[in-house]
């Protein structure tokens, strides 16, 4: 599925071939409780070497269970939390590099839509104020033009300005609040939108409306999306490419349909097994998950998934598997997929894949 990306954004620097967002080896560790004066430093390895890229005009889905580090990754991208290691490159410019792009300028091109919760909108401000805040504070827009922009955006997200501009968040329904969230994110005219569980809190019918809205907006405004969710169905429908995370690492990445039709990593398979599906073509040999969820403070050595994997062997405990390409735009971090890794099933699987 090739994106129809038009080179009309004046801020574009590298053309369609250059990824809009490139992340290399991103790491973030949090000290576990009781850190101060501890002799052993216990760290929660929230994000442990995450790398991916997002091409212009596409949607990258990030999927995983809670605690896998996807929300932390989102916040690291915007520097809401400081990364401990790794590079973030936006349209060819390193973030934080002296020759690259500053965090502030990055935020003017990359924005986030939060999960709808009671706290995602300022309860003391009107809808128009909420949307206009970014342009007024960050871009020094005057009150009148900022509010005009807010009203245009309200229109664009499907809320009649006359009805909604002067309302307060507690007077809106969940879906309406989410539209305001989207309008707020769009107010600074970003090129990339991070959607962090943006539809997770909504009823199904409302979810459909919002997803359609997002699809239309992507077309109209030439946007690129990073769509984070634990809901596989939704991710499958919205994403061009997908990245699967487990305990702070990426275990599988590639084209969306390829991954959903032929999941290779045992974790991905287990996730998909949990999904109700009507597709008779989707036959897997994967066993269900075994074992207990591991401790995020002391993750298993080697492959982090091995304690729940039916196929774990000695090599899995010794060597952490790298993200290797096993096909056209399909990477997996699993010893079973790599011939010569030492895993007994490696050769079989390789043969089956050829």
């Amino acid at each position: 599925m090739s994106p129809a990306h038009r080179l009309t954004d004046p801020r574009d620097r590298g053309g369609p071939a250059q990824p809009l967002l490139l992340v290399r080896d991103l790491k973030k560790y949090f000290p576990a409780k009781g850190h101060l004066l501890t002799s052993r430093r216990e760290m929660v390895q929230a994000v442990d070497g995450v790398s991916f890229s997002v091409m212009k005009g596409t949607t990258l889905g990030v999927v995983g269970e809670s605690g896998c580090g996807k929300s932390t990754t989102a916040r690291l991208l915007l520097h809401l939390i400081e990364p401990d290691a790794g590079d973030i490159v936006f349209d060819g410019d390193g973030v934080g590099d002296p020759q690259g792009i500053s965090v502030r300028d990055l935020r003017l091109q990359m924005q986030m839509v939060f999960q709808d919760s009671y706290s995602s909108l300022n309860p003391r401000a009107t809808v128009a104020d909420i949307i206009a805040f970014g342009p007024r504070a960050a871009k020094k827009l005057a009150r009148q033009p900022a509010h005009e922009r807010a009203e245009r955006l309200l229109d664009q997200v499907g809320l009649r300005p006359a009805l909604f501009a002067r309302r307060y968040p507690h007077e809106l329904s969940g879906g309406q609040r989410q539209r305001v969230n989207i309008a707020r994110a769009l107010a600074l005219e970003p090129r990339l939108l991070i959607l962090d569980e943006a539809v997770s809190a909504l009823d199904k019918s409302v979810e459909a409306q919002i997803l359609n809205l997002l699809a239309d907006l992507r077309r109209e405004l030439n946007l690129t999306y990073l769509f984070i969710s634990h809901d596989l169905n939704v991710v499958r429908h919205v994403s061009d490419r997908v990245v699967v995370m487990y305990l702070g690492r990426i275990v599988e990445a590639g084209e969306a349909e390829a991954i959903f039709r032929r999941p290779c990593h045992p974790y991905t398979r287990a996730l998909l097994d949990a999904m109700p599906s009507m597709d008779p073509d989707r036959r897997t040999e994967a066993s269900p998950l075994t074992g207990d969820p591991p401790n995020p403070i002391n993750p298993p050595s080697g492959c982090r998934f091995r304690t729940r994997c039916a196929f774990a062997e000695a090599v899995c405990a010794r060597v952490p598997p790298a993200l290797d390409a096993i096909g056209n735009d399909h990477d997996v971090a699993c010893h079973m997929m790599v011939p010569g890794s030492g895993h007994s099933r490696a050769a079989i699987v390789a043969a089956a894949n050829d």
């Binding site: 965090v103 502030r104 939060f114 706290s119 003391r124 499907g158 539209r179 429908h237």
Partner: protein
Amino acid sequence: MVELAAAPHSLALDEPLGAEPRSYWSTVADRLKRDRLTIGVAIVLLLIIALAVFAPWAATHDPLQGSVLRRLKPVGTPGYLLGTDETGRDIWSRLVHGGRLSLVCGITPVLLATMIGGTLGLVAGIGSRFVNMLVMRVVDVFYAFPSVLLAIAICGVIGAGIGNTILSLTIVFTAPITRVTESLATQVKGRDFVEAARASAAPLPAIILRQVLPNVLGGMLVYATSLVSISIILSAGLSFLGLGVTPPNPEWGLMLNALRQAIFVNPLVAALPGVAILITSLCFNLLSDGLRSAMDIKLPA
């Protein structure tokens, strides 16, 4: 991206709840209007303040003019509504004039402390861990003194007088207000909309002013009002000890001290200034409670 067959997104079947926009504060005002106790208390307070402001007209005599012949007349003496004090001055007039001083000494320190402490608390709550530690440790040192002790120690050292009383009490109250504000600000800081504001590349002052402050104001108001009730008692207490307002100014605490000797002669008269302090302080306390109840709105999810 696959399109989902669902209703078109721009259908304006979405209508906001409620007929008219209602801001948080107008909801609070509504709830207050229905709280009869708080309304009653507010009226009493306004009465007290009005009497203090219009003291020269409300008083029946010159509060500083006394006559030895008229010492310690009881309540209900014709011409002297509440009797006279130990030098023959009319108590009602002195109470009414004293209200000015007592209210000023009670409210001003809290106002000043709220401005200073509020700013410090906001900065400590929003700023870096280092800034937070710096501010809060200094606050801790001042918190280490019981308020009465600190107020007396400061006044004992810099001397009596209205200005010094206000200064001393301001110092005493800044620490608790800073603590409360910092705690409120830290709570607000964790909410998503503040993160969204940070993500919008807005400068820090704008975030503090437009996002954090409006959400912290309510809690600060409740706390400050309850502090006023303490401040009135403390400032009167300072005058009672001779460390606050100086004689012959009519101030409730001062009057209480002066009339102590009178308890053997005319006990009722001696108790009056204390009643004034009690009522005023009580009203501020109840007002603070009423405000807190009114602001404790469980908003629909």
